[in-house]
């Protein structure tokens, strides 16, 4: 069934988009991430302009993270204070990201920047996750217990001022690194059209040392708010959010996420991290290959505005 998208200005197959939403939703539910890093490239692949894809995926991630956040809230797995402090940085970062996005679009290097940041981020994060998952698996096989949080190991981050007690997470931490983490995620999310969950979760675990019980729920709240904010900003500044496209993605996404979450509970934690690492790494390598090999067509056309409607 073909449907004409009002903003992207092309007809798409509804079932294809629904299936893409469901597939990415499955992965995101399984690993507890937004899945934007998979969704945006897929949309570009089916012919949607990169700028429209990035802007529309933001609202799609908002939907899936909201449904996730609700269930985590019921299980009291969200630290409201931690989420609030992260949000201060996240909001700032998102505004900065949308501004950068608009600037890059006018410079004509948006596609390159999106591709480059995908390569750097995904290969680094994917590689690290894969390595960590592999080590955890080997350790588990060797019979030693897996400890993510080494007691008593306080880095320089814990020496920073402005400390706050985050009750539900049971940590006592300076607000500075928390705000910075939020800022980075917000910025990346707005520029690349990804929620940043797959970066935020490791950052919270290894840098902020937030206990695993509240990590995913809290990161979902941050993703939710930054993505709602990004949707708003993209709608106001670039007018590129395709609501019809977003709605189809959301319906597929939230459905897929439920089945993904069920599948994820049956897989062991370290295997899950290993798989996610592999997936992230694979997407990163795909982007790297695309940059390095000679493109099929050296020329490209972009409309720079002009015709009044």
């Amino acid at each position: 069934m073909q449907l004409y998208l009002p903003i992207a200005d092309i007809p798409v197959n509804v079932f294809l988009i629904l299936a893409m939403g469901a597939a990415v939703g499955f992965v995101s539910g399984m690993f507890g991430i937004g899945g934007g890093f998979l969704m945006t490239p897929l949309l570009i692949f089916v012919g949607i302009a990169p700028a429209v894809a990035v802007a529309s995926v933001a609202s799609h991630i908002a939907a899936s993270s909201f449904s996730g956040a609700i269930s985590y809230w019921r299980r009291r797995a969200i630290d409201p204070l931690l989420a609030a402090v992260l949000l201060v940085g996240g909001t700032l970062g998102t505004a900065l990201g949308v501004w950068t996005f608009t600037l890059l679009r006018s410079l004509g290097q948006l596609d390159l920047m999106i591709a480059l940041s995908y390569v750097i981020l995904l290969t680094t994060v994917g590689g690290l996750m894969f390595w960590e998952g592999l080590r955890a698996m080997l350790r588990a096989r060797g019979g030693r217990p897996v400890t993510l949080r080494k007691p008593g190991s306080h880095g320089w981050i814990h020496g920073l001022p402005l400390k706050l007690r985050f009750k539900r997470s049971k940590i006592y931490l300076s607000v500075i690194p928390v705000v910075v983490v939020g800022l980075v995620i917000g910025f990346i999310g707005a520029v690349m059209g990804i929620g940043g969950g797959f970066i935020l979760v490791p950052l919270m675990i290894y840098v902020l040392r937030v206990p695993t019980s509240t990590v995913i729920g809290t990161s979902m709240v941050l993703t939710l708010v930054t993505m709602v904010f990004a949707t708003m900003l993209h709608a106001v500044t670039n007018h590129l959010v395709d609501a019809v496209l977003a709605l189809i993605l959301m319906i597929g996404g939230v459905t897929g996420a439920q089945f993904g979450a069920r599948a994820g509970q049956r897989i062991r934690g370290e295997h899950l991290r290993l798989l996610l690492g592999l997936l992230v790494l694979a997407v990163g390598i795909r982007f790297a290959v695309e940059l390095v090999i000679r493109p099929q067509d050296l020329y490209s056309i972009r409309e720079t505005g002009g015709a009044p409607p």
Binding site: P6, I7, A62, A246, S300, E303
Partner: protein, 260 residues
């Protein structure tokens, strides 16, 4: 950049005015549909242009071998053609050329190859064929079109043609009788929204006899139009509604799939 639009249009007018001949024939044409509406299930389409050559008493009686060239040009916009080059081991956009107020859709149809219709000089003046159509570009400080085999120009035409947005068919116009003709105007799904001008030129023995114009428009209606205009004019409301829609979808999902 806004200044260039009038420049390009004035240029076009001068080119077309200079060639207006005293005519003895009249062209009567009509497009099958003057208003193509984009609905949710829109996926391109085809219009038919038909018409006839009306002779009057001034027409030389032995004149029968007419040639016809139809030019359809869509809404104009500024576009940039970029070329990738290898820098630091990766392929990035380096050089670019700006095309000013060029048609978003451009189709040239005729009943036989352009070089059989008229001499190269006439072809250039009458802009017959994609190679001869004026595509205004910013070349350094100047605004000009360049030679047809310029790499940026030919890449631009090739890329537009690959999407079916620029096309040239030298056997698309059929004469049903010596004076009655028709041609199809294929519109791919990606055609830009806006007003399309159709220019019909009649040639005989290598010279322009007469010409006429027609037009049609492609418009979004109903829901598509509502969404598109709201997104552009009320960005804030549009964003709020989209965000609200996202939250509702997420909330609905958490209710539908609630396990406990």
């Amino acid at each position: 950049m806004r200044l260039c639009a009038p420049l390009a249009i004035i240029g076009l007018i001068i080119v077309t005015l200079a060639a207006a001949p005293a005519s003895a024939e009249r062209l009567i044409v009509s497009v099958s549909n003057h208003r193509v509406t984009v609905t949710p299930n829109y996926s391109g389409g085809e219009l038919v242009l038909f018409g006839s050559v009306e002779k009057d008493d001034k027409t030389p009686s032995n004149r029968t071998n007419y040639d016809l060239v139809v030019t359809v040009s869509g809404p104009r916009a500024d576009m940039v053609t970029r070329r990738k080059e290898r820098r630091f081991g990766i392929w990035i956009n380096t050089d670019s050329r700006q095309f000013l107020q060029v048609p978003g859709y451009l189709a040239l149809f005729s009943n036989r190859p352009f070089d059989q219709i008229a001499s190269p000089d006439v072809q250039r003046r009458q802009q017959l064929g994609l190679n001869n159509v004026l595509l205004m570009q910013r070349v350094g400080p100047d605004f000009a079109d360049v030679v047809p085999n310029d790499p940026f120009r030919s890449a631009f035409v090739r890329l537009r043609s690959e999407h079916g947005l620029y096309r040239e068919a030298t056997s698309a116009v059929t004469f049903l009788t010596p004076t009655l003709f028709r041609t199809g105007i294929p519109l791919p799904a990606e055609v830009p929204i806006g007003t399309y001008n159709v220019e019909i030129k009649l040639f005989s023995e290598g010279a322009l006899v007469t010409k006429t114009e027609s037009a049609f428009e492609i418009v979004k209606i109903g829901f598509e139009q509502f969404v598109a205009t709201t997104a552009r004019q009320n960005g804030l409301v549009y964003g709020l509604v989209t965000a609200f829609m996202a939250l509702m979808t997420g909330w609905m999902a958490s209710i539908v799939f609630r396990k406990d």
